[in-house]
């Protein structure tokens, strides 16, 4: 937002590009859960573009992005966050976009030293080089700490009106925002991607481990964002809705998975991901019963809809005791 505003101050025509990888944390995803209802249900990129008065192009890169997550050339950060590869990928996509749409250069809001992996003095040139953007990539907030770029050399941008921010502190950015009269802005970098989240990364690693290969589809990574995930046996996992919002969300997937729900009592919708035999199904039903309002009853009837089938079956089971659910089952 700030980098774009700095360019707008110099009379440069700016349009925004926002890449949707499938791992983006948005108010909406959180809004599925009741506890987050107070959070604004807005897309921050759209909101920012409107505040700046610029157009925004949202680009679906879900499929292309898989290779970045699965095979990052520069490795992962603290979790499954391939930040340096991700930056290079996004700038490369932006370079392709500006070529196709007759724009002259790319700007990003990066600042030297802001992030430990992708925003270091030695990694910023890697992004410029590997993306193919080279000197058509300008970082207005720290440009005066970096080599001169094409837009500066050509006089399209006045280098003297750019900035020399560096380091982890965001105080200079906050001061500049205040100077521009910007009082509200989106969460700083890092919190906008599920791949930087420890719990989410654990679930994705579990998915890969059980499949025996590092692959995913969009539905897989969306489902990792919601519900309580339990893996009682290596061959299957249960995704248990924690409240009405999540149950409604999981409803959208009930035809793609085997779905279980208590019919004798109120309870959550549960999806079974994986393969199972009758013994597995019995265990799954007992767990579903535990999370229903029949948890203290001797018997709970569970309705089971096998994946892709219109024929449901029922199982009457005793709820599994809470002490019989080991912590290791929780993914």
């Amino acid at each position: 937002m700030l980098a774009a505003r700095v360019m707008l101050e110099q009379g440069i025509h700016v349009e925004g590009i926002n890449f949707f990888t499938g791992f983006c944390v948005e108010g909406h995803t959180h809004a599925i859960r009741k506890k987050d209802k107070a959070k604004p249900k807005r897309n921050n990129a759209l909101w920012t573009a409107e505040q700046l008065g610029i157009k925004l192009h949202i680009i679906d890169v879900i499929d292309e992005y898989k290779d970045i997550v699965i095979n990052p050339k520069h490795g992962y950060g603290a979790h499954i966050n391939p930040c340096l590869d991700c930056k290079g990928f996004m700038v490369r996509k932006a370079r392709q976009w500006i070529d196709e749409n007759n724009f002259d250069f790319i700007i990003t809001g990066e600042v030297i030293g802001q992030r430990p992996m992708s925003q270091r003095k030695d990694t910023l040139p890697v992004i410029a080089e590997e993306s193919g953007a080279h000197d058509r990539l300008l970082r207005p907030l720290c440009a005066r700490n970096l080599a001169i770029t094409l837009p500066e050399r050509e006089g399209w941008v006045d280098r003297e009106q750019l900035y020399d921010f560096s380091g982890r502190s965001r105080k200079p950015q906050m001061a500049l925002a205040q100077q521009f009269g910007i009082s509200e802005y989106a969460q700083p970098a890092g919190g906008c991607c599920f791949l930087t989240d420890a719990a989410y990364s654990t679930k994705l690693q579990d998915l890969w481990q059980q499949r025996g290969e590092k692959t995913y589809e969009l539905d897989d990574i969306m489902l990792l964002k919601v519900g309580r995930h339990l893996r009682p046996r290596p061959n299957f996992k249960l995704i248990i809705g924690r409240e009405d919002g999540e149950n409604r969300f999981l409803e959208g997937y009930r035809r793609q998975y085997t779905a279980l729900r208590a019919s004798s009592h109120n309870g959550p919708l549960v999806l079974l991901d994986g393969s199972y035999n009758n013994d597995d199904l019995h265990l799954a039903a007992r767990i579903v019963a535990r999370y229903s309002q029949g948890r203290d009853s001797s018997n709970v009837t569970i309705e089971i809809e096998p994946q892709g089938s219109d024929n449901s079956q029922t199982l009457t089971v005793s709820p599994i005791a809470v002490d019989d659910i080991p912590a290791a089952w929780f993914v």
Partner: protein, 76 residues
Amino acid sequence: MSQHQLDARRLLCPMPVIRTQNYIKNLNSGDILEVTCTDPGALNDVPTWCRINGHKVINTDAAEDEIRITIEVDGG
């Protein structure tokens, strides 16, 4: 002018916006597009995207589980 419908149900943000954006690329000025969504965020985001890009939201209908947003292409 022609009428079009887009089913963006069960898609989470920003997919309803992306589908709307990509669908409208192939429409003409004055065409009407009705987008059906289930993500409550679409109620905010689709109109924001329309304002930014010069389209006009002529109606929104938000029921309990389903949202319908009617857009006039280039009507903003």
